[in-house]
Symmetry: D2
Subunit: 329 residues, 4 copies
């Protein structure tokens, strides 16, 4: 039975801890965090121990690691876990920059360990069903992808300042979804946006953005993003194909409809990613278990993680330079 | 070209006048109303003349009559028009009671003229599409029909007092829709209801009712009605068949959706029958034109009108006696 | 920490076992089933033991029982558990007939133990939200309730023969929902139906039914039921109130919409009760935990269970006798 | 009573003829077309005469002209009608190129006649309701506009070759809608696309395009277009504002929903612009009547028509040059 070391006891670490504990055949052995109290508490909740990175990686009972620590530690932890021969699940993004990502990729390749990146949207039941139906040819070849990706409200200024910018912080998910849906590589992109809130201005960032991407086979993808959708977390996919269209809508807490004097109304979408992607997080951990069991290969792979990061960096440059840019690929 | 005499220059008469005028090949020749001013005004609007019943029926140029006068005149006008050899379109109900309806049916049969009853719901694009798809076998044999039929607000007390009661006044449409959808005759029914408003109490009537009908072939229909749906005019059909379900929803003025902090909302239904059934009224007049052109037969027929009236009277008795009743058929 | 004895290791017993195990503060101690192998397997899955009724009830560590055994054992198990001083959760229906239900009620009253009946629909997130909003006055006083309750396909003949008939077997849930929503008692009802399938005929039962109920305050409820909805499990509520309407729609597995040449389509509803009411079953066990913790009172209560059974028996008589019947209350 | 001369008896000319005839207070006096037979037939249908441009403009009874002839005649006809002192309604686009548009604008300004451009989408009931609610502040200031604009199938090669390209032919409507919704001028844009069909390739055109525009106040608009949406004519608007989102959906022929074994489906959208914008064409003619009656001013104005044409030319250049371009304004 795979025993798991979890790095990171914050919000996303706690989700992974719960899913590891609930995953048949998995055992959570260690929780590691710079905040020792948080690590201890989370470990206790699931019958695990808290420890440090060295000890966790040195323990031969540990088969796999789940990395959910702060972004600036990802690349280093991936490389160390790879050298220790552990299978790896790492939250997105792979690294804060492309150099870091590529160097840890060398370590993973050398070790030959599986490495899965936590783009959980691929495991959302609605998105996954859309992808299956697209691949099954229900609407023919995809021609246009439209992604809507809006947060309910902007994060605090401190977060924004160290976030790497909206393209790395938010749209990296959408870049992955774009590549995943099109099953094609991007050849050029154009990114633009607006800064409508005080905090985004202070952070030198955008809070509203639009990116247009073109793939090798001439398929288009447009992504539109905002940091503040007043009605909640808005996560939609639309794919136009040669024979029709598939759309993935938002999830709602209930299916109640109210017909009153002036409006017929339903619930707003689930409030944020913890609610919307609750099942996706569970499904991705089940997929990681299937990788460890040798039933499937790592996907989204480390390479997927690096390509999404490349697109995020390119989009950032495109916006700053005000022009369309080609991918170096 | 058929020239038409229109009896009745009230609300529904004005709708028919407009549709007669717009119907290619029809000419509105006369408008007749006890209110001579109203008749004259409506006639002038469409280039017709106002006159009285005798002269309208005596004019050989008049091929057909459209009866939209008050309910208590229907049976007499039908009989007189039939004896004058005119084709007849008459608003529902055929008569205020069954005896009147049956006696005018004798005159129509004797004259051999076509007689169409204005159950306009059969011509609503949504209801007609549902019926076509049902008849085409899309959901197999119908098993259960659920009709929702709610007015936006109760009529004034004066209207209620002379309306004949909710079953004759409102549900007569639903009894026709029930027979039309099932293409089967009713063998028994049970009607019950409630009186939740002051006016309905004063009129000795119900404002909320539920009727359950069973057909020869064992199919069920439930009708639920209210005089006051706060969100507008609610007109829905649901048919469960052996292989699926067809539902006819309400029509909305626009397709705008608003996502705000607390709700995602769309328009309420069209406010009342004039808006909801605007196209149905035009379509039924086009159908009457097709009857006159010999391209089709009268439907809903006078017999349909009488059967709906029988069910309305039976439902009234069922409610008053508190028991299920069999149809005499 | 409450330790629980579970009676019944069948389909519904396994659901309860999982929810008991997942309920913080609960411990599953015993599983009891006439099928000892099934009991043993289910017990092992959750770290419990299998035993017999006597031993389970004799163990002072057992605070509460969950009864999910066959219907004919419910009343006896409730009475014995009550006499042993255990808190009780019992699946619907309370008993196969009213006499049995009333005699176990005496035992429960004498023992003063809490007794909750498993009408899980009250805990469905969508239905519960509708009820909260209704009680909060969003649409004013309720006037008409329309319940749609359709199974995806008929059970086998053997099941049908011992089911007690469609009113006790299926509609008992709807009778409870009707009373719960209206917060009022029923004064009369009329039940009718049809038998459109071979098995229902052989079992002397209906497979399609319509029931109309009237409450003390003059509110109406219509229930329409079928044993075979080709499109899945159809569970809807509609409440018309003085100021609007609330509707509870079906739940769908995903939010994908496909626009093809001829149709725009979405998923069919969740296939059956295990999927649709998965969360409801978890929520009702959490509610039972709250009862045991003294935070709330048993609801649906044993009395609710008995009243639903009374309505089911009355509906059966109404159908057989072809007439409306008053409640004895 | 304004008498109207209609130039153009083709598909769109026939629609305008019907709406002129139905417009209270309007009289259709002349129909002019290079195809004399078509002009004669359309004139006869509405009790008008056919004539030539000179005579129509020389007749002092003619107050206004409606220009629906081929695009290459628009600018010349506008200029001549202006010099003749007629009020002008002209189909989009104003001219085949910007020079032509600007020169006729000089003539209109000199004559001081009203000139309305036929961007009928502004008069679609759904789009107009969205705009009213946006202007009323329902979602706060607009931040992002997403326009979906897809035709059901590509036009023939001959049409494509003389169409001026997808940006002038199709997206000119969307450029107008973008400016109208934002009530702001565009400062830069980026257009890209793909050519996925044989005919578009032969015509040297795109059949799939994406345009991103930025306005003075930093608002974004993305437009996505295709020449072949298998499910019909797809015309949607989405506006994200500071306090919510407004969406305008497609119109459907009926409100029937079918629940079958595998899908729950509704109608596809109205098939093409004649059906979708039937009411919009009538409303815009009513608006033109209001201009003639002095009740309102021309809108969309000739200046709106020119600005949309500028954006279409800029988008064409942006696509050809592969880079974002600033507006000269």
């Amino acid at each position: 039975m795979p025993e798991i070391a979890l790095f990171g006891a914050g919000r996303i670490g706690r989700i992974h801890a719960g899913n590891i504990a609930a995953q048949p055949g998995f055992r959570l052995r260690y929780v590691v965090d710079v905040n020792a109290a948080a690590a201890g508490e989370l470990a206790a909740l699931h019958g695990a121990s808290s420890t440090d990175v060295e000890q966790a990686l040195a323990d031969p009972a540990v088969t796999a690691v789940v990395i959910a620590a702060s972004t600036d530690t990802h690349a280093d932890l991936i490389a160390r876990a790879a050298r220790a021969g552990k299978a790896i699940f790492c939250e997105k993004p792979v690294a804060t920059d492309l150099d870091g990502a590529q160097s840890c990729a060398v370590a993973v390749a050398a070790a030959g360990v599986p490495c899965m990146i936590g783009f959980q949207r691929r495991f959302d039941p609605t998105f996954a069903a859309l992808k299956r139906r697209l691949d099954a040819g229900e609407i023919g070849a995809p021609e246009v992808v439209v992604l809507t990706s809006r947060d309910p409200g902007p994060p605090p200024l401190d977060y924004l300042k160290q976030s790497g910018g909206v393209f790395k912080d938010m749209l990296i998910h959408d870049f992955d979804v774009c590549r995943w849906l099109l099953a094609d590589e991007i050849v050029d992109l154009y990114a633009t946006g607006a800064c409508l809130s005080a905090n985004a201005k202070l952070a030198g960032d955008l809070d509203t953005a639009a990116v247009t991407l073109r793939s090798r086979q001439g398929r288009l993808c447009t992504i539109n993003t905002s940091r503040h959708a007043a009605y909640g977390y808005d996560q939609r996919i639309e794919v136009l194909g040669a024979a029709g269209m598939l759309q993935a809508g938002n999830h709602r807490p209930t299916e109640v409809t109210a017909s009153l004097a002036d409006t017929v109304s339903t619930d707003v979408p689930e409030p944020f990613f913890l609610e919307r992607y609750r099942r996706a997080y569970a499904e991705e951990m089940a997929y990681f278990a299937a990788i460890l069991a040798g039933k499937t290969v790592a996907a989204p792979s480390l390479s997927d993680g690096i390509k999404a990061l490349e697109l995020a960096e390119l989009a950032t440059r495109s916006w700053r330079e005000g022009r369309a840019l080609s991918c170096s690929v």
